[in-house]
Amino acid sequence: MAVTLDDLKGNKQLADRTFRGATLMGGTAIAVILGLISWTIASKSSLAFRTEGLSFFTERRWAPADDVFGALSFIYGTAVTALIAVVLAVPVSLGIALFTTHVAPSWLKRPLVAMTDLVAVVPSVVFGLWGIIFLAPKLVPVFTKLSSWSDGIPILGSIFGKASAGRTFMTAGLILALMIIPIITSISREVILTCPPTDSDGALALGATRWEMITGAVLTHSAGGIVGAVMLGLGRAMGETIAAALVIGSSPAITANLFSSGDSLPSVIAFEWGEATSDTKRSALIAMGLTLFLMTLLVNFIANYVVNRAMKRMRGES
């Protein structure tokens, strides 16, 4: 009878507070790790910025032997491959999302969702392996044909220029497109499903065809969320390392020709790390990591903001 009700209460409160503290630690871990990432990466790249200055971002040459470290061609490569990926992936992803929600019979819906999820499960290095050994050699004749067709046409002619090899900006863009299709599809699908049936049924009742119903009711309703999904896909494509590193060709270049080999930020970090023995070179590679971090951070910030705002508005409306 030594334990009184008050004692129990005290114990319980202590236990409760301890538990709360423990969960709080788990939550704070995220903030702490993000802070540590920014701080360590920034401090380690300071050496590169001190020796190169701001020309790090504007210098095209990457010549470790001459101690010239320019990131511009890698930034260009990252942007170009990510853009190709988004341009290719968005129509396909929207097509899949709309097909799943509005065209497919109900028995087909689950297998379709499972299929897109399956693409997400395949490890990126496996896509890279497939791209470098299976896809790249098969793409060379396709690239050659495309460039001979578009030869002489003002803009197309320079975009689809001479194909040097199978490992090009375009190859990397294709593989990245495949890898971001699942994320764009699944978010678009969720957004499209929030479209109130009164809107779509109303459009159909007014005599609209299915496509008119989709453009008139569904897409206008979910435009914001889809833009956010596309931005998230863009962020994913910029940060994806291994698949791009294997198929991009690893020869830094700034050219409009998408059929030329290039290099990107994550890929050069992964490739040159083993040979980076000097402090400056390591620091320059870490500075590239910082650049990549900031680029994806910006894109993801905007994406999260757009998605959240769109989701909130849709919940409020429906």
């Binding site: 969960t23 390392t241 994406a303």
Partner: protein, 311 residues
Amino acid sequence: MTTVLESSTGPAPISPLLTDLTTVSTRRRVKNTVMTTLMGMSVAVVAVVLFLVLATVASKGWSIVASEFPQWFTKDIQLSPRRPGPGMKAAIVGTLVATATATAIAVPLGIAGAVYLNEYGKTSLFARTLRFLSNVMAGVPSIVMGLFIYVFWVVPRGVDGLNGFSGALALACLMLPIVVRSTEEMLRLVPQNLRDASLALGATTSRTTLTVVIPRAASGIISGSLLAVARAAGETAPLIFTIGAAKRTNWNPFSGTNTSLSLQIYANAKESFPTAQERAWGAALTLIIVAFMFTFVARALSGRFAKNSTS
């Protein structure tokens, strides 16, 4: 009655007007058909590409795994990429060790964080900030995670820093936001009246969470964690700088370099020797099977969870 029905279904005098209203102009109908076909084609394109990838990996991988059947899983990796020879045991063990260690770090931490967000923080400014940060962290490129652990953890420890544990730390950073987000989703699905009932019986929030909320959401939480595990098992970039490049089996995460299936695929895919490429396909098949197994179990569990929460 019957006459009325018949007159309404039979050819009525207003039929010209009706047909005018119900038919759709050819241009609109064609556009609709074309667009529907395009949607179907985008599904077909992805299905075909996915099939091609899986079929290539399966056929090329199977030929090496099957022809070297027992040795593939029991022998260490051939030292020279040029020479043929069996063995992927070191990589299989390395993947298991690094992923298991990363899971042991990230899953408890992530579940704790999600419990804080959903049971304590709720809509407070701090909780909203954390939720936002976990979304941001989910978007950090995996290679940056690798660089971070290299600078933060490996460099201070010198050569000994390259081991399974360092790799696991990088993988854990990658898994943490995924676990937090999926667990919070699952906790949110637990009906509020269960919590209220438990609290009304005099239980504290901690007791309610541990004995009512988490058991209810358990299969969902496990399924989300398994998806994070599958993701981590397939990652390469965080391991390049952190785990080293071993060819021998090393069960100890805390000392000695290690390797992983994904690293072996990456290293061998860059080689031009056919023996190395064969080895890459074999490792790819092994890795895909591991990733699919985790995903399959996760799907089965989340299916069960969905049934539980609706009943």
